[in-house]
Amino acid sequence: MSEKVLTPPEHVEPLVFTRDQLDWLPWLEPMAEQDLTARHMAALVDAARAKSPYFRLLVRDPEVLEARTRTDKDIFYNSDAGLPRAERELAAAATSRFNGCIYCASVHARFAATYSKRVDDVDRLLAKGVEADLDARWNAIVAASVALTATPVTFGPEHVDRLRAVGLDDAAIVDVINAASFFNWANRLMLSLGEPSATGAAANR
């Protein structure tokens, strides 16, 4: 019987934004691994995602999950022109920080730190929030992401001007728009269908 809300097992709830690896515990029943058909496996795109309760929950709507995943991968991994990967991840982390998605922020802060090697700046964004002073270019990307994340959206010509002033061309600006917008999709699923859990080492600190 899957028509019920799940009570997650006892776990340590993360209370701050962190770059630590977190788990995610579903509030609704994911599909069982043994019930996944070829259609479901195709929708997961990466076979390893059959191990993830998040993706096994979303795969209840396989068409939408597959399209979501292919949109996500192109926005973040397609290296043809536009914004460097590190700064697409910065936009994702800033969006997640502003919406308050501790899980999403942890993943994309890790990526932003790895690709940029600016660990202290990423940690400052997590600790202080979207007003943290990083540098002119990162501040402009964070401010644009925040304006795109506000509801109603407050992104305007002044954000475009500021991004251009720090060296972004229009292809890079489109990447900021795509990355911040995509995390408004992802944050809402992660926040509302389950909760994060601090794992092993992180929980013991």
């Binding site: 597959e66 397609n78 926040l191």
Partner: protein
């Protein structure tokens, strides 16, 4: 069918932004595929088109963008009574996000508490319990997603939504949150030539 984001953002074939968008072909193709799957679903067993169109129109209205509201209003054209009930529900529910509470701890200093949406009579009866519950959930997802809790999902189950239906309508609201932002961002960029 035309690409909905291009059409709502007024991106003409061969324009500068069209050329830029061709460099993220999978994102463009699959954002459209998501839209098609959500609004022309393979199955209506867990969420009907009528329900999907009503939720989409509500979310569009909460974002206050005329082009998007007109687009999703058109999907519900055949049902003017439901269209009007959604308009009333949205008019009573406007806010500015994101807000909400964090788990109790150091982040509590950043809490911005607010009240969940509760759709009142007679609009609630006009919408029906399933759609009313879905719109209340959509309001939380749009404006204060960090308040999400298992009780919100229980309210949807109690109103008759299945687990699979909840996944579908959660994707719908989340996807619109994306689509509206891309459309808005591209329009702003296009209106600001170098």
């Amino acid at each position: 069918m035309a690409d909905v984001i291009d059409s709502l953002a007024d991106i003409a074939p061969g324009s500068a932004l069209d050329t830029i968008r061709t460099r993220r072909p999978q994102a463009r193709l699959h954002a459209q595929a998501t839209y098609d799957s959500l609004f022309k679903p393979a199955s209506e067993a867990d969420a009907s088109k009528r329900e999907r169109f009503a939720i989409a129109l509500f979310v569009a209205r909460l974002h206050g963008k005329q082009e998007i509201t007109a687009h999703y209003g058109k999907l519900l054209e055949a049902d003017p009574e439901l269209q009007e009930a959604v308009r009333m529900a949205a008019a009573a529910a406007g806010s500015q996000g994101p807000w909400g509470r964090y788990p109790v701890g150091p982040l509590s200093a950043e809490d911005k508490p607010g009240a969940a949406d509760r759709i009142a009579l007679p609009v609630r009866d006009q919408l029906g319990e399933r759609i009313a519950a879905a719109l209340e959930h959509a309001h939380m997802l749009v404006y204060h997603p960090r308040d999400a809790a298992p009780a919100h999902l229980q309210a949807l189950l109690d109103a008759g939504w299945s687990t699979t239906g909840i996944v579908a309508i959660s994707q719908l609201v989340a996807f619109l949150s994306y689509q509206i932002r891309v459309m808005t961002g591209l329009r702003v960029l296009q209106a600001r030539p170098r």
